[in-house]
Symmetry: D3
Subunit: 134 residues, 6 copies
């Protein structure tokens, strides 16, 4: 059963190829990874996700490496195999060392543990912590 057709770089319709070219330029690479080749089978999603990635992952108040490590933290928590692989690779490209990766996973593991302790005991939120919407 064919789930989806990958669109190869160089063999894409112009509107798709334009996104591929932009990805390659932005990432200083001549390689398109499977994620984009699969999304390309449905151009509205390809365009939307690439536009979103450009906006959200750009340098801002948080630097790009920290953003990438946050991405890994979410992907690990959700157990998304593809995402763990691709975003760990991206984080390493942006400067994450082996020790930083080890510390990152230690925090992710700990957060997952204490999340369950807080939930399991149904600990009431301290008044001091409660958000106030005004």
């Amino acid at each position: 059963m064919v789930m989806v057709r990958m669109v190869e770089d160089g063999a894409a319709a112009p509107e798709v190829q334009a996104v591929f070219d932009e990805i390659k330029t932005a990432r200083k690479t001549d390689w398109i990874n499977n994620f984009w080749k699969v999304l390309a089978a449905y151009p509205p999603t390809l365009h939307r996700i690439w536009a979103t990635v450009k906006q959200v992952m750009a340098p801002g108040a948080i630097d790009p490496l920290t953003k990438e490590m946050i991405y890994v933290a979410v992907s690990v928590t959700n157990n998304c195999e593809y995402c763990i692989h691709s975003h760990t690779a991206a984080a390493k490209n942006k400067g994450m060392t082996d020790e930083m990766f080890a510390e990152l996973l230690a925090v992710v593991g700990l957060a997952n543990e204490t999340n369950r302790l807080a939930n399991g005991y149904q600990i009431p939120v301290d008044e001091k912590f409660k958000p106030k919407f005004d």
Copy 2:
């Protein structure tokens, strides 16, 4: 139905009070939040979690603010209400601005979206991304 008894600061057995005192010193505060008061009802968990938090959240290759934001990212993904509140407060204490929080949530949201696109299409991991264990 009583789920658990909170142990109040100042009214705790010596081995528990010692942890409370250490928490207050480390955090430069005279306030113990509910999480620790609940864990204190079962001292082995109180001791273990506090020892772990001290080790994992200490400055290292990753700075404490980044670690705290990673903690928030996991707590949001797991929808742990107590943890979102307490770790957002902690991150703000360590310097997270409103704009950093907004960018943090943007990354967490995007990661959760693309995690499902990767899973839904069952995208095969590129050879280049595959970890090699040697």
Copy 3:
């Protein structure tokens, strides 16, 4: 906005009241908790879930208290507030002590932590552990 109408015990149609009566007899109580009153608004689900609960939670190779604690472990991991409350109460009725509850949450917390370490490092499954389907 009304999401669902609760069907009150004593004011239910005969086919629903029959399930309510069976629940009260089986649990040696004269009280129907909200879960069943909500399901009763759609009788096919009420019948199916009660029949399933009777089969799955009955004494078997695993005793009822252990089954109830496994139920709590899942509910904590999923952060289902209603389920944590109702199944912790059920486990206490079946003999779970405060110390057992504390140990239960310690295991649940640890499992959630190591689950993320295993996923984060993408640790390959040892040949010895791999299931063999024959």
Copy 4:
């Protein structure tokens, strides 16, 4: 390590074979997929799940194709590889086109994103949205 023994179609005990035959008739196929062959090793679960599937997935107020797409949405969110494969195949058999699948994943992705934004900001539920149980 053998986790479970698959029961093959044609080599099953009568009570199991009866379910296999019913599945083949209902689905107009002569093929039993692994899910049922694995469940068959423990007949109480085989019987219960098949009875449930027949009831829940039958045509009703929601048509069978829509139900199957909802099934895929949940399986993608949970990242259940087997379930994504088998229910995507089932949805295609019931008429899901490639474009519908692409739109389905776009909705699933977006929902996972905004779920985290709502959780992360701990947005209070508008009074207007709150369910009223009467």
Copy 5:
């Protein structure tokens, strides 16, 4: 502790008010729900999410009511309280009856159950189901 400031309809900066006005027109209502008022505190996310919602939730190969029910299915699986409330309301506005809601939850419940049976038994994906990427 203030987590975020809600921007009220009628008291927003022009670029935000423009989105609020568009939402009201598109939804034929004069009411802005909290989700948008919170996002408005950080305009880049407000603009991005509203543009995405318009694209993804528009009529296409899947009708808007079905898309809304898929949204509810994901929100229930993730236990996002705000999202369950707001998207159930939206689905009811688009024609979901009480019976359809009951069937929807039955499918969501069943999918979550069989997802764990498939994962727990680590059932191998049948060759026939495997996607082929070409």
Copy 6:
């Protein structure tokens, strides 16, 4: 791309080898599984997790087999492949029979189903079930 280097038993630095030796003694085996070999690349996590496992999984108010089955329940709910494999193996070593495993998965499946029914209907917690913190 090398994600992490496995540290082999017999070729480890003294502080790591000491943990390996302790694991082998405690488990009456001469085999170190991949989980520990991967953690060993970052000794602080290796030491912390092994110390935690020893404390949490030790006999206490809950027996070791029950603790191991609770571990499997969490791992199945999270869909952590490595963890399902390794902890199912551990539970079998501690006496879990095939029938107990089948019952365990039936409870895990049911809990995941009813968790979503409770969440989906947003069932209010009965007063009687609410925890009281004093």
